[in-house]
């Protein structure tokens, strides 16, 4: 066990440093030598893409903070200041704004890939759970960020979403007032939302680190399209150069639609009402959240009936939160030993039905809360949860296809 002590006569300065802080060997092990399955398809690009999208948000956001004013009287004007007077301000803001939407697209595909190939199953339950936590944090961050331009949709979106907290029995109303820093969304709310919007991305970064740690654990490692455990060394390739180049190529492809939106349709995914300054006296005709929240917004509004003594509003919030939180217990719900949908005929159909239903919910979320959309939302919500609740039974009845012995 001689290696357990530092070498008193290091042969190089690097060895001296490495003995004290093995930074270089850590980076070499995780970014260069990390053994990755050699059969990963392009669906596996979205993990690193999500990381890059996060970094891009942090960098562009950092430059925006230098010019943005988190004050109800100045916020809207400061955005216009960024768009007009700050050198390349329009580019930085468009990257940040479109970047948020694209971050969600990437993460949705990343989650979809995990669902399809059973990446949540043992031994990746914690890895998966960290991912769900990141998704929650992302949603909070995006919501907070959308409030900052202090347009009509910012203001009224904040009003609607923060009001959801008031459904908590007994203390809900007090919590909302505490959160607002007043008796409605106001200047104090904007300022604290700004603080939180600055803080949360770094919390996300921390959880991303845990997510990667759980992945790079040599007892876990990446899943692969076959979903089988890989045992031979020849099934793996070192991360560099094989996946560094593949991820870089994927990044360039991703940049094409992303930059197209940044340069040609920067406002397409946003709402025109957000170019109207926030006005507490005028409610917009339709309060619509950002597109990436629409499926969950539909679930929230689908519950318009009381159950016993439980109020519909409370049930709606519970349904909405559960619709994401249920992902945490997915590894428990899905008892099938086979990971990849390639070898699970029933699950494969269920997966695509789930995806289609998810888009349907998104479409419903943009519709007004009236019939027939409410009834449709109720059916779609039932289907959404039905997918998860059916999994334990499917595992019992499904005849899976024979698994390959190696890739």
């Amino acid at each position: 066990m001689a290696k357990q002590q530092v070498n008193p006569n290091p042969s190089s300065k690097l060895e001296w440093f490495e003995d004290r802080l093995p930074l270089i060997s850590f980076m070499k092990a995780e970014l260069v030598d990390y053994p990755a399955p050699k059969n990963l398809n392009y669906a596996w690009n979205f993990g690193s893409l999500a990381g890059i999208a996060l970094i891009l948000q942090i960098l562009t956001g950092f430059f925006l903070t230098m010019h943005y004013k988190a004050d109800a009287g100045l916020a809207f004007d400061s955005i216009q200041h960024i768009m007009r007077d700050v050198n390349w301000g329009w580019l930085i803001r468009n990257l940040h704004m479109v970047g948020a939407s694209f971050f969600f697209i990437v993460v949705y595909i990343h989650i979809g890939r995990g669902l399809y190939y059973g990446s949540y199953k043992s031994p990746r339950e914690i890895l998966w759970g960290m991912g769900v936590l990141i998704f929650f944090l992302m949603m909070a961050t995006a919501f907070l960020g959308y409030v900052l331009p202090w347009g009509q949709m910012s203001f009224w979106g904040a009003q609607v979403i923060t009001n959801l907290i008031s459904v908590i029995p007994l203390v809900g109303d007090d919590i909302v007032i505490w959160l607002w820093g007043g008796y409605g969304v106001n200047d104090a709310t904007l300022t604290r939302f700004y603080s939180l919007h600055f803080l949360l991305p770094f919390v996300i970064l921390g959880v991303v680190f845990l997510h990667l740690w759980a992945l790079h654990n040599r007892k876990v490692k990446s899943n692969n399209p076959t979903g089988i455990d890989l045992k031979k060394d020849t099934d793996f390739v070192p991360f560099h150069p094989y996946y560094t180049i593949k991820d870089t190529f994927g990044l360039a492809v991703y940049m094409l639609p992303f930059l197209f939106m940044v340069f040609y349709m920067p406002d397409y995914l946003g709402h025109t009402d957000n170019y109207i300054p926030a006005d507490p006296m005028t409610t917009p005709a339709h309060i619509v959240p950002e597109w990436y929240f629409l499926p969950f917004y539909a679930i929230l509004r689908a519950i318009n009936f009381n159950i016993l003594f439980l109020d519909s509003k409370l049930l709606g919030v519970i349904a909405m939160v559960s619709s994401i939180a249920i992902l945490f217990i997915l590894p428990i719900l899905d008892k099938s030993k086979v990971r990849s949908a390639r070898f699970r005929p029933i699950y494969k159909v269920m997966f695509w039905a789930f995806i289609a239903n998810f888009f349907f919910l998104g479409w419903l979320g943009a519709k007004p809360a009236e019939q027939p959309y409410t009834a449709m939302s109720q059916v779609a919500t039932a289907l959404y949860f039905g997918f998860f609740l059916a999994l334990p039974w499917i595992a019992k009845i499904e005849k899976t296809k024979p698994l390959p012995t190696s890739i």
């Binding site: 360039a252 094409l256 930059l259 940044v262 920067p266 629409l294």
Partner: protein, 239 residues
């Protein structure tokens, strides 16, 4: 997985365009010159739009993000800009304020009137909407219940608009002698408002081509690099 990606793309586009389409009345599309990727702001059209904006719109609305100096970014000389500002008894650094104060507006209309700087971005349809609205004043159809305080407009949501028809034939004396029809003025001021809403539009569109071209070529090169690097893995497999 390819299926997933194409499905996601298609459905995202479908659901977002469904979201973007809010208005009930189809807006007639105008052939705006700024819609070309090569477009620069046309100084003469901006100038005519400026005349409509300052002589008509600004009786009641402001353009608070715009100063005379900004016109220098679309080809006006310093002398021209100074002269225009002086004609309005303003300095080149003064922002375009409405002639109607918020207090007077509240007295007359029960609310402060909206600033027009970013109006084209604040309405679905943008410049097309502004043009349609300004040319959309009509007699209310038979049986339409029009309140005294409103005017009938084909393109305004609900058709009852508080703003009376602002443009009348020959209202503006164009610097270049262009015939000031309502359509001409509406087109010029909608164009001007596109500039005030997103002055970076033409820079953005021109630059985007080069950025995308660069990334496109980079992607092709990276693809072949990737293929080359991975080729030795394939070879090992077949050995």
């Amino acid at each position: 997985m390819k299926k997933l990606l194409s499905l996601l793309t298609v459905l995202t586009l479908v659901s977002t365009s469904a979201l973007a389409a809010g208005g009930s009345v189809e807006l007639p599309k105008q052939p705006w010159s700024f819609q070309s990727v090569k477009a620069d702001w046309e100084k003469d059209k901006i100038y005519r739009g400026y005349q409509v904006a300052t002589q008509v719109c600004m009786s009641c609305h402001g353009f608070k993000y715009i100063k005379h100096r900004d016109l220098m970014k679309v080809g006006f000389t310093e002398a021209e800009v100074k002269k225009l500002a002086e004609e309005m008894e303003m300095s080149v650094m003064d922002t375009f304020k409405s002639a109607l104060s918020d207090e007077d507006a509240i007295a007359a209309y029960a609310k402060a009137l909206p600033d027009l700087s970013v109006m084209n971005k604040a309405r679905p349809g943008g410049a097309d909407y502004t043009y349609a609205l300004l040319t959309g004043y009509k007699e209310a159809p038979e049986g339409f219940n029009l309140p005294d305080t409103g005017s009938y407009n084909e393109y305004f949501p609900g058709h009852v608009i508080a703003m009376p028809a602002p443009l009348a034939e020959g209202q503006v004396d164009y610097f270049d002698g262009t015939n000031a029809t309502v359509k001409q003025m509406a087109s010029d001021v909608a164009y001007f408002m596109q500039w005030t809403a997103e002055p970076e539009l033409t820079t953005r569109q021109q630059l985007g081509v080069y950025v995308l071209l660069y990334v496109f070529i980079l992607a092709i090169l990276l693809y072949f690099t990737k293929k080359r690097i991975w080729s030795d893995i394939k070879r090992k497999d077949t050995e």
